[in-house]
């Protein structure tokens, strides 16, 4: 009975929207946005559904923007590592770099299970900046912050590897032979 009343109360309401808005909020790019701003973002997203084995994009294709996974699993692979670089699931996102530079895709993305994903593309971001600069700047700043933290992490990794390399080049200290005392 209670279930029926609840169903009736929610009849016609789009119950999926709030859930997806939570997914959006969990993405670092949109984390600082207000409810109204998230609704504005939702309006410009493109919803797509993919069957298992279907390609979302191919490595070296011109990049247009990023995708957010609402449900399903996406496999990421490169031509050098065709056996899957990684798997992404619900609430995760991929392909965000072309949002800024529109450069070619660095990997191939393929649906592993039935997927529902949302595309957020550079021309829509530019159009958003044009008509709502405040929101546009917020998103671009978040993107810049994500990329700068990745750059910092990459720098640290490079530094660490450089140290390791230098350490491996240094000649090993001569091993002292133990004096055996003659008694």
């Amino acid at each position: 009975m209670n279930a029926t009343i609840t169903t009736l109360m929610h009849f016609g309401k789009r119950d999926k929207k709030p859930r997806f808005r939570d997914t959006l909020r969990s993405i670092p790019i949109f984390a600082d946005l207000t409810r109204r701003e998230l609704a504005a973002i939702e309006r410009i997203l493109h919803k797509r559904e993919y069957e298992p084995g279907e390609r979302i994009f191919h490595q070296d294709d011109p990049g247009l923007g990023m995708y957010i996974i609402e449900s399903g699993r996406i496999g990421i692979e490169t031509d050098d590592a065709p056996d899957n670089v990684g798997d992404l699931g619900d609430g995760e996102f991929f392909g965000e770099l072309p949002l800024l530079d529109g450069g070619p895709r660095s990997a191939t993305a393929m649906a592993k299970t039935p997927c529902r994903i949302y595309g957020f593309f550079q021309p829509d971001l530019f159009s958003l900046i044009e008509r709502n600069p405040h929101l546009g700047v917020k998103i671009v700043l978040s993107l810049a912050s994500i990329i700068s933290s990745r750059l910092r992490a990459a720098n640290e990794r490079v530094e660490e590897m450089r140290r390791l390399l230098e350490a491996s080049k240094k000649p090993a200290p001569p091993v002292r032979k133990k004096r055996t005392s003659r008694r």
């Binding site: 410009i44 493109h46 919803k47 797509r48 559904e49 993919y50 069957e51 279907e54 390609r55 979302i56 994009f57 191919h58 294709d61 011109p62 247009l64 595309g119 593309f121 021309p123 044009e130 008509r131 709502n132 600069p133």
Partner: protein
């Protein structure tokens, strides 16, 4: 895209929609004219609504404010111009009457009788013939207004209505059309749509701005020269300028005719011709290179063919819309080829 069945259904719906539109082109060209005109105007006005949106308003509110402004401006213009237009129509209907004009016609008649007698024009009565033509032309204009009145009213109501919804929901309509594209071609179609949007928007807006500039300059020139009905003739010249080659001549002809029949002063006719030649030179060398998008260069033969086909299919409005429509088709092909090369579809 939704699940495969829904996707297939949506695709068929869109294909049927395009098929229906193509069918309408032949069965009800009036409707197609209305839709094309509304779409072009919505395209031209879109940045203005976006500029209002920049103030922090929603799309619907911005569209409403834009419409309120445009409607008020049109209404004020109508109140100002309609008495003038009616007076001009009335003047046309009553025919040529000034002494100067009569003198000019008599002189012209003498020349024609003397030099063209061998063509059977030895006893021609030019004043009567010109009056007949004038009365028949003004009668045709009035007949057109009476016969086409209901259609004009439908246009006056339907076109703004369509423009309103195209401006308000244009983005959603584009998104809905893109959503039916199969996954494999989705990013390609989206990329193509965005590029076409930019190219086409620039092209149409620049054409519109060029027509407005030419119209305003013609009006000022005719006002300085003291030509009667300078406002209507100037506006017509601006509109006619949208039709390449034919337009500038068609725009100058009414001004020349008015000068001839109003004053009969040949010097003034020369001044008007000179003004239009100077304006056309200014348009070709300064206005067009500054305003009109460089990406859409149409071959003169293509333009001429487009004008003839547009005129055959949809009359004067077809001639005006022919060039932007051809520009649209060229942008579609051009961008499709460039984007197709970039994506180079591979077999999955």
């Amino acid at each position: 895209m939704n699940n495969p069945q829904t996707a297939r259904l949506n695709r068929w719906l869109v294909i049927s929609g395009f098929g229906f539109f193509a069918l309408l082109m032949f069965t009800a060209p009036g409707v197609v004219k209305m839709v094309v005109l509304s779409a072009l105007l919505a395209y031209i006005f879109d940045p203005l609504v976006t500029a209002i949106e920049l103030r922090g308003l929603g799309r619907t509110a911005s569209t409403c404010i834009f419409f309120l402004f445009v409607t008020s401006a049109c209404w004020i213009l109508f109140l100002l111009v309609s008495p003038l237009v009616m007076a001009q129509l009335e003047a046309l209907r009553t025919g040529v009457s000034t002494e100067q004009t009569a003198g000019f016609i008599l002189r012209l008649q003498a020349v024609v009788r003397k030099n063209f007698a061998f063509l059977g024009l030895g006893n021609v009565d030019l004043a009567e013939r010109i009056q007949e033509i004038g009365i028949s032309a003004s009668g045709k204009i009035i007949d057109f207004i009476v016969e086409e009145g209901p259609t004009l009213v439908v246009y006056a109501v339907a076109v703004p209505f369509m423009i309103f919804f195209l401006l308000k929901d244009g983005r959603e309509i584009k998104k809905a059309l893109i959503s039916v594209v199969p996954n494999k071609y989705f990013e390609f179609s989206l990329d193509l749509a965005y590029k076409m949007d930019v190219q086409l928007g620039n092209y149409l807006r620049s054409q519109f701005l060029d027509a407005v500039t030419f119209g305003v300059l013609s009006t000022i020139a005719l006002w300085i020269l003291g030509v009667k009905y300078f406002l209507v003739i100037g506006l017509f010249a601006g509109l006619a300028n949208l039709i390449p080659y034919v337009g500038p001549v068609a725009g100058a002809l009414p001004a020349i005719a008015v000068c001839l029949f109003d004053t009969g002063d040949i010097t003034k006719v020369f001044q008007v011709v000179l003004a239009f030649v100077a304006l056309k030179l200014l348009d070709d060398s300064v206005i067009q290179p500054t305003l009109v998008a460089k990406g859409v260069n149409l071959h003169p033969l293509l333009v001429l063919l487009a004008i003839i086909i547009g005129g055959e299919m949809f009359g004067i409005l077809g001639m005006i819309l022919a060039v932007p429509a051809t520009g649209f088709v060229k942008v579609v092909f051009q961008e499709s080829l460039v984007t197709l090369k970039k994506y180079g579809f591979r077999e999955d």
